[in-house]
Symmetry: C2
Subunit: 418 residues, 2 copies
């Protein structure tokens, strides 16, 4: 295989996570090892930064900054939810790549982003432009197919479980009985995140919360929910409910008090199911209920990230560069779990086509018959993902996160209307 010499471009897309910057740090660090990669660029705000030719020089950032990227939440290059639809957009992308001699393109994102990456790669092949495109998995939703689990997932559920355990310390302390405490978590179309809260139950502590987990996969009815709450309150002094924001009824309607709006991808923006359940309990059972909604904070809670997750995110970034330099293209890095009892994880590759727009569902057989708790199969799957803590440096009492200088790469093309 002929060595491909040129510049590399790294981009981020979709919702930020606690560890997607670790993937960028891994990719940058690995890219520096390969002479065939000349310049290391980042595109600002994902594909928008390609269309607008907004590139920054990542090799120009200090080593300290790149090291700090590893534990900095968010998406340091900026991200976007812009959906590339027009053929013209893809052609513009390729023109920009050619103008900057981009030969390696690494794109960290979820399903939609991997789809974009796949199409860019295809167009390059059609035009005979030698380009290697490798996707880096990223999503707290844990819903990418093929991959064992997604970077970002372990950290969000570690944070939620920590919060559940701390709230348990609170509720255990309250003298009153019959409190219903509702925690609304993310999860637009799958219950992976809500399911994760079950790890907060310590082994051999059957009274530990959460007592009820409401998953989008299990159709909600008010009757069953209120029965479940009453059943829990017969044996516990409080009932903690963790509910995924995407909870639906048997007709597929979202359970929410809020108005519903949609984003650029047609994804429904939700909120309010926690408040809805709170009202339901108070109105029907006449007992006190409280709700909390962690919102955006849960997906970027780097101060409570999983070291396993962060290390794997970094590894995925490195693996993307190694794969591309090794001649691969049109692939996404995957995480492959070892077969042994003791958890281990290495990277693999999957066709972008197979990943793009596919969805990994929460296995129905991992939900207990009661429909509101997870069984040992889920625990065996998820527990390794939250292991280890990340040591973040603090300054003035707060985490010291990286802030990129973002030295701009000179534009060589005309502007473009997105």
């Amino acid at each position: 295989m002929a060595e491909l010499v040129g510049n590399c471009l790294i981009g981020q897309s979709g919702g930020p996570t606690a560890v997607v910057n670790a993937s960028v740090a891994g990719a940058i660090t690995e890219a520096l090892n390969h002479e065939c990669i000349e310049e290391i660029y980042g595109c600002l705000n994902g594909v928008l930064g390609i269309l607008n030719e907004d590139f920054i020089d990542l090799a120009d950032e200090s080593q300290q900054t790149i090291r700090a990227l590893r534990y900095t939440p968010g998406a340091a290059l900026g991200t976007c939810r812009y959906k590339v639809k027009k053929q013209q957009d893809y052609e513009r992308i390729l023109e920009v790549f050619k103008a900057h001699n981009i030969r390696y393109f690494f794109y960290a994102g979820g399903n939609d982003s991997q789809d974009t990456a796949a199409r860019v790669g295809e167009l390059a092949a059609e035009q005979g432009y030698d380009l290697r495109v490798i996707g880096i998995p990223k999503t707290i939703d844990n819903d990418l197919p093929i991959i064992d689990h997604c970077p970002g997932y372990g950290s969000v559920i570690k944070y939620i479980c920590t919060t559940v355990q701390e709230m348990a310390c609170d509720h255990d302390a309250m003298g009153q009985h019959d409190l219903v405490s509702i925690l609304e978590v993310m999860g637009r179309s799958a219950g992976w995140i809500a399911a994760g809260s079950s790890l907060a139950k310590r082994r051999d502590h059957p009274h530990d919360p959460p007592h009820i987990i409401l998953l989008p996969e299990v159709h909600f009815t008010a009757e069953k929910f209120l029965e479940d709450v009453q059943r829990v309150l017969k044996r516990e002094k409080y009932c903690m409910v963790v509910v995924g924001e995407g909870l639906i009824d048997v007709d597929g309607n979202y359970i929410t008090t809020s108005s519903v709006s949609t984003d650029a991808f047609g994804h429904v923006q939700l909120g309010g199911v926690g408040d809805y359940l709170r009202g339901l309990v108070e109105a029907n059972l006449g007992i006190k209920a409280r709700s909390a909604k962690l919102g955006i904070s849960q997906r970027v809670a780097a101060h409570c990230a999983s070291k396993t997750d962060m290390d794997e995110a970094y590894l995925a970034g490195q693996a993307a560069v190694l794969a591309a330099v090794g001649g691969e293209t049109g692939k996404m890095v995957t995480l492959v779990r070892g077969e042994a009892e003791q958890y281990s994880c290495e990277t693999g590759l999957a066709d972008l086509h197979e990943v793009a727009n596919g969805v990994k569902k929460l296995p129905a057989e991992w939900v207990n018959e009661d429909g509101v708790s997870m069984n040992f199969q889920y625990h065996r799957y998820a527990l390794p993902l939250i292991q280890g803590e990340v040591d973040i440096p603090y300054t003035h009492g707060l985490p010291m996160f990286a802030h990129l200088d973002k030295g701009r790469v000179e534009k060589v093309m005309g502007s473009y209307e997105t």
Copy 2:
């Protein structure tokens, strides 16, 4: 002064915090140093545990457990919001004390709890029963008078600031402009907690969030709020709002979408101001808004506690025992800030009478003229309180909190109807 020999009783009251157990750990550890203190008891669920004679033997707990109490959130002895009103209740308390030879009573709590402690002490004096009563300050609300700041406050604002900084990493990454992000925090009657979020702004980073802080002390009007949001969005790509749950309008009405209920003390239970503001922005400005409500999780976020706060809480517990053994009674331990530029803090004592039911207001002169941000005086006050991180041991990926064995002390009296 004659040495007073007998048993001691430790209780917790009011809302749990990240550090009130550290005060209990401090008191237990110090009590072990004094031979005049024979048994070390805890009452379960505050004053309810005295009325019901629900005592546990704290000296029987393992040293490991007491050490772990230091970083365990909640209120390990249990707490209550029972308001002692009847004279009969106070007389019962004293009878129980006499039956168990309780000569030292340490009560960690906020305003209401210190009032209860004061009255118990008075009744003992009236009856010629030698009893030393020392209050230990505790409240995330930071509203106790005389004391420089309250244990629990530094930790809640450290957690909120960390969350604000992480959310900033998220929002900074989003390509879209004109996002309004609303974070609802606790603070029933004062803006101390919401004000604390201003520490998330790094020095010399004027663009850092929060951009708007809504305090109960500054009467809310929708017009000014919407103007403020628009003003922020002219210079920033998103606007982060931190709002205290107790926000009121000029007539003193709470700003909320939720129904209002009251607890046993007549305190109003709030919620929903974040969602209200979100609706206001979307309906009037036609731009996207998101809200999050940390709820209970914020007051018990031990995984992100302030070491300064935790150490001071522990110190307050120790100081309570030292004061009582030294002959003091009817006092609450205070925290006294040193005069020097460099932060230092030692304990003092204040009359329980002066503390009970008093309220420390957020000084109006610490709020900037814009009404939605805090000035350097607040920063100078609060920044030292969030310094230092607490190293919590983890097991299976989650914090390893203390769980008391709660070996019961035998009851010697008849039951009592509360």
